[in-house]
Amino acid sequence: MTPRLELVGVSRTFGVDELAVPALRNVSMQADEGEFVAIMGPSGSGKSTLLAICGCLDVGYSGEVLIHPKNSGGGRRARSVAPMDPRTLSMAGLARCRRQLVGLVFQQYNLVPSLTALENIALPLELDGVPVRKARKQAFDALTAVDLVGLEDRFADQLSGGQQQRVAIARGIVGDRRLLLADEPTGALDSHTGEEIMEVLRARADAGTTVLMVTHDARHAAWADRVVFLRDGRIVDSAESISDPSVLLAEHSA
């Protein structure tokens, strides 16, 4: 399998001297194309920090992070074949990384309230200078992929939580982006809606998108191909998908 994301010896510390807090310690992992990886761990274990680093939001780390932008199918919008370390990018480069390569999904949806669902999905493309008509066509394709046809002209406050999260997912994958980072995507949803979101994420992974998902919910982690456990900034375990990850969760959260 072709790697999409590689972390080699990544460490991240906040603060200095006696106030220094190591959020990540020598983390190494790899996520392949189309792989669905769940990241679990207790509060303060470094999950969100890991996601921020992978999402070109945080460059204060040491080690190496490699994002492989070109998919095996030869994506049109990939700017380079060589893997890219966010730490080597300029501010403009990081912004481009977030527009073109990485999709982010948050617990609180974080849709722009003054844009419709379709416009929210098209936002990364419009930010990238794609003509509006073309951007909206691609956005409609992404909206279709998350099964929201018919709701494209609604604003965020006119959508349910699950629908908003689907819009956020669609925004994360629009433009053929192949790396989707989700931080507690079901945290604000009821169990039934949460399952629906997991179905969407699973479908995206099956379609070739690499999904990294932070979660506290073992049932949702079961949807992943692999579960990585973090504790005190280190990966303490990594397991292939199991039917009942709650056992591992109980084992590692003691």
């Binding site: 920090t49 921020a52 939001l57 501010m91 977030r98 948050f106 003054s114 604003f155 507690e184």
Partner: protein
Amino acid sequence: MITLTPGSRLPLAWRIGWRDMTRDWRRGALVVVLIMIPLALLIGVVIAGTSLQPSLRDEVRVGLGSAAGKLTSVECSAQSLRYASCDYSGATQPVEPATEAELLARVPAGHHSVVERAVFGSFAVDGLSYQGRLVATDAADPLLRGRYDLQSGAWPTGSEVLVNEAVAVRYGVAPGDSVGLGDREYPVSGIVHHHPWAGQDPTPVVVVGPQHPFAAELASVPSDSYGPVVYLDGGLPPVSDYPAWNADGIGVTDRDVLLGLDDPDSVALGTGGGAGVLVLMATAAVMLMAILVAGSAMAIGAQRVRRVLALLSATGARPRMLRTIFAVQGLVLGAVAAVLAIPVAMAGAGVFLAIADHWQWAQVMGFRMQSTWGLAGGATALLAGTLASAVPGFRIGAVDPVRALSEAHRQARLWVALVGIGLVALSAAAVVVVALRVDRLRAARALTDELAFQHSIAVMVAAGVAIPGVLLAIPLALRGVAAVSGRTPLVWRMAGRDLGRSRHRSVPVVASVVAGSLVAGFAVAVAGFTVDQQVVGHQWRARLDEAIVSPPEAYGAKQLDPDAVLGAVAAVVPVTEFHVLLTPGITGSLADGGSSVVNLEVLDRSCRSLSVAVGDCPERMWAYPSIVIGDVDLVPVLAGVPATPAMRDHLASGGALTFSDLVLDSRGNLELSHSVWPRGADTGTEHRLGSLPVMQVAPNGNYGASVLVSAETAERIGLVTAEQPAKPAAWLKLSRTPTEKEQAQIQAAVAALDPQVWVSVEAGPPVGSPIVWATVAISGAVLLLIVVVITTLASGDRRRDDALLSVLGGGPALRRRVAAAQALWLGALGGVMGVLLAAYLTVAFFRVYMGILPSIPEHLAVLIIGVPLLAAGIAWLTTPGRAGLRDALISGRPQAIGGDG
């Protein structure tokens, strides 16, 4: 041991309000400034206004000095005590005015008196002649202290003279210089503080002593306005004797009687109902602006603490308690604004009055700060602060604690009822305006007093309804902005939709801009119209930058030498164009003192072009000769339009070109006649010169001459004869507008050639567009400050959205563009609404109180276009480039936007 923090002893709502206010002291300071500035401006204007208005005591001081009273010559049997002038309203009988000797004869024995004699005449400084008041009196006499106060130099002796401050400042005269009176120069010994009348514009005054050589000349000049005045230290008759004295042509002014008429120190602001209404309107508009702008700042601040309010509500606090939190802040901030506004107003007014007094712009009666205005100002500030706190407090009761605690971003409901009321109010105001227009037309332009009163009430009510109507319609306007933005590029779409959907923030912001634009627009409209009125009311003698030198009309006077005139004028100001205008010779004075005139049988007999009643023709520039003899090349000079071949042919064929239909008779013909009136004769002889075919030429603007005929035609019909040849007048176009000094120099230079010629130099109305542009600059700056401050405050509410844009890959430029677009939307929307309201108020005020339909100056476009553009530029510059990104990036925590890992 429990340590009590500041405010711990206050009731809960007061404690929270006080601590929130002190923690967010910058917002509090902003609210104070937003209330204080307009209030200080208003109080300062009132202070300056009352300081320029004389009280009764001022009138007595200026009018009587230290004298107990004065005796004056009067022409009628009843007089006003206050001004010793005639009262023509009642049964008055004309009397022979008393002479100076008769006045002096009435001074009781043992009482000291001083005589003052004055005429309006001319004096010279550095060879230039100026107009002013010439006075002969002993200004140093203690009786006149307060009326004449020495400012510099010394009291005059011998042939020395005094000048007042107006002469010193305007013409640069100092002790040791000299002024010309008559045909001699006299040294200036000192400068006095002296005004002939209290509260009037400073008049130049030259004072000579009673034994001065020029005093006798003054005494020989009859003056209907400034008869002799005798000031005395006592012995005045009782009021019951006044009728008898009046019958002898003597008016009595007694200091004690005057001061007993009214409160001697009270000052009425303005000169009548119109000024009072203007002040009330300005007060209401200014306070509305202060309340809305300050309220916006508080409303925006309330949004930031909505979680706290939600917690209080969820814990059981009643809406009244939540409102008290803001009411406390409003009261305290209003009180601080009141305390600051009064000294700021006093300082500003003091500076203005000092400058006005120094440069003699106006007569400053003294610095007046009436306690009632101070108290009213303080109360107004408190009220403004309290009402400002009501803006956020209005919806406090509707806060949904669950939603607010979850920070759910849900669009505020559009209060359809309120918007509907606003639209109804606007419609009602529009209906009133249309109805007034219809009513006025129906009254066929003749408004009775009763109808005018009804109209004024209706207009004021409509204005009072229109303002809240506009404010209530703002949410609808914002919804329109959001709808219009739907098809625009991303930046405009985000900016417009955010305005329309975040009404909790954008409504108070737009309301603030509307209020600011209303006040700014009203100030500009009034300034522009005032300047227009000065232009309209200006008595044009010729077109701008023209000089016309007319020949003397006396019989036997020498002919004007136009070339010499050209040389004399060009030596002062370069001349770009010069023409000689020939006028008929049969006009003017006869050898025996009679008159010889050429008449036009005009349509309107009150506007005879060549008779003495030229003042009845307001459209005519009287410096121009009425009939000019010349060729078609003079048409551009006389009428300001180009000459045509048809005009040339018409002149050549013996016709006349006319530039006004007033010179035609009822049949449309130009009838000329010549009449001679010997001196003392009751009738004259008149013979008809002829009727000329007419071609009417529409002049460009105010026309000059009335008729142009060719030399051949003039000779053929007898307009000119060998005995009375055509007289030349000189017409000059100056290269620029001459200053006042240059105008005087031109007058002097031409008078040096022939003192009998009449010189008219037209420099236009005394004031012009600089005042309007100054008002635009000040108003625009204040409005820009309001827009920038309020939009900057509001942008803090967009931090979350800005961070999201950064996370999604939008760069700093995008955020700046969105901020600039929002500032542009807000400035433009609020500006248009406010300026339209201001235009409506201006039209309403001037139409009702002055009966004039004002012109709305184009300078208002600066407020609608320039201010929003500048605000957008400032928003662009001040939007932080890294803030949103820092939240998400440098802190390394995606939970800046979501998640808690």
